[in-house]
């Protein structure tokens, strides 16, 4: 596979899926500016590392992996924990019942450790196959299956305690 061909293929993927990559980056950093920076940096990194890619089938999960790693690097540097968005703050002040449910639900996800959160996002929100998730996170398929199972359990637990305590501040 020539570099030119790989570059063409990667460009095509990026242009088609840029919104997915952006949302994925956003799910880690929770603000538009940093998410845009991560998308940008991921593209640079991918273009630089293109030589090392030898299997065109994997180009999709390969780029996902770069986005995930760039986002994780960013978080490590920033040492961010959880960040509430504006809209959620508005909900907090507006005090609507159904809004709280959404907030609980999202907080339950946010409170998961990153390694569990990201399998849920990749598998269910990005609609990737277990094999692809494994490829992106550089783990074997069984590890991802176990992790997904645990992630769902944890999420369920978070939701139940959230409702039991009535997380309404």
């Amino acid at each position: 596979m020539s570099r030119k061909y790989k570059e063409k293929l990667l460009t095509k993927y990026i242009l088609e899926q840029k919104e997915n990559y952006y949302r994925l980056a956003y799910s880690y950093v929770k603000n538009p500016d940093d998410a845009l920076d991560i998308v940008q940096e991921s593209i640079y990194k991918a273009m630089l590392a293109l030589e090392s890619l030898d299997d065109q089938v994997k180009i999709k999960s390969w780029f996902y992996r770069i986005v995930v790693n760039t986002a994780l690097d960013f978080l490590r540097k920033q040492k961010k924990v959880t960040v509430l968005e504006e809209e959620k703050l508005d909900m907090l002040s507006a005090g609507q019942e159904d809004a709280y449910t959404d907030l609980d639900l999202e907080l339950a996800l946010e409170h998961l450790p990153t390694k569990y959160k990201q399998v849920i996002i990749l598998r269910y929100f990005e609609d990737l196959k277990i094999e692809e998730v494994a490829d992106i996170l550089e783990e074997n398929v069984n590890t991802i299956k176990t992790r997904l199972y645990r992630a769902l359990n944890l999420l369920r637990n978070n939701l139940n305690t959230g409702q039991a305590q009535g997380v309404k501040g």
Partner: protein, 293 residues
């Protein structure tokens, strides 16, 4: 659980896509610019102000990531709220917008923060407009560097100095200050320190005296002031008086410091100039010795 996951996925899909994404992706693919030009203004001043008041004031985690500087003896913090960077060859802009956090006096906090944001936004927009003009005219150099420094940080006083350095051929520098009483969370203005307007003359006279003394003892110093041995042709626009709201701050020794921008009262090589006013000179004019000792 399926219902919850579906709902979560829906929320995920609703993450808004910023209009900039296309440009960012295109530019990155072309590898044309090493740094993304950070145009962080969402939609004009209103949105920015909203962002500022809601995010900086109410979500500590956001501001934490922005290099917070906790100040002595208080929970008040000064952070870099936004940065605007243009890095395009001969066009260079580096604008850092400060913001205060954790003041109980929210009115003061938001007034200052909104001022910082609005003024820097204006700088940035001017820069972008000038850059386009210069590009149309065949190219050239344009640079702006704006930021802030903490001039004083004591138990009682916080003085923030904000500078703007314009570089078009030669450079010009301006400094503006905000002096805050940290204990009472008040913004201190120059007139508020004095009983009446008499201070303008008292301080002006003292500065002229200091200018003349400095010129006598140090041959390299030059101020645009009369009776200091300058030839008459040089005395076109001499320093006569400070403005009632002249740039000032209070330093850590409780002394009043009066500041002049580059070129304002002296040749350019003298840069930004500060005069420390001896407290005994203004003792009779001061309302109290609360701040100035």
């Amino acid at each position: 659980m399926d219902k919850e996951l579906e709902e979560l996925k829906q929320r995920y899909d609703e993450i808004p896509i910023p209009a900039e994404l296309d440009v960012v992706v295109q530019q990155a693919l072309k590898r044309s610019t090493p740094k993304r030009r950070r145009m962080n203004w969402l939609t004009g001043a209103a949105a920015s102000a909203l962002l500022l008041t809601t995010l900086v004031n109410t979500t500590p985690t956001i501001a934490q990531s922005l290099a917070g500087v906790p100040l002595i003896g208080s929970v008040i913090e000064l952070i870099t709220f936004r940065e605007f960077v243009v890095d395009e060859g001969t066009y260079q802009a580096n604008i850092q917008v400060p913001a205060l956090r954790n003041l109980d006096n929210k009115l003061l906090e938001s007034t200052l923060n909104e001022k910082y944001l609005a003024e820097n936004k204006q700088l940035y927009e001017q820069f972008m407009a000038e850059m386009e003009n210069i590009k149309v005219g065949g190219g050239g150099y344009l640079g702006i560097d704006s930021g802030y420094e903490i001039k004083t940080d004591t138990e009682q006083i916080l003085a923030i100095g904000r500078y703007v350095v314009n570089t078009v051929g030669s450079s010009s520098t301006t400094f503006t200050y905000d002096t805050i009483d940290k204990q009472n969370e008040l913004l201190i203005t120059l007139p508020s320190l004095f009983k009446d307007e008499g201070y303008v003359k008292t301080i002006s006279d003292n500065i002229k005296q200091q200018m003349r003394e400095q010129m006598q003892t140090n041959g390299e110093k030059v101020y645009w002031v009369t009776d200091a041995g300058l030839e008459e042709e040089a005395l076109i626009d001499t320093f006569e008086s400070i403005a009632p709201a002249q740039n000032f701050y209070i330093n850590a020794d409780h002394k009043l410091v009066i500041s002049f921008d580059k070129y304002e009262v002296a040749p350019g090589y003298m840069g930004v100039i500060e005069f420390v006013i001896p407290t005994e000179i203004i003792a009779n004019d001061l309302v109290s010795h609360e701040y100035i000792k």
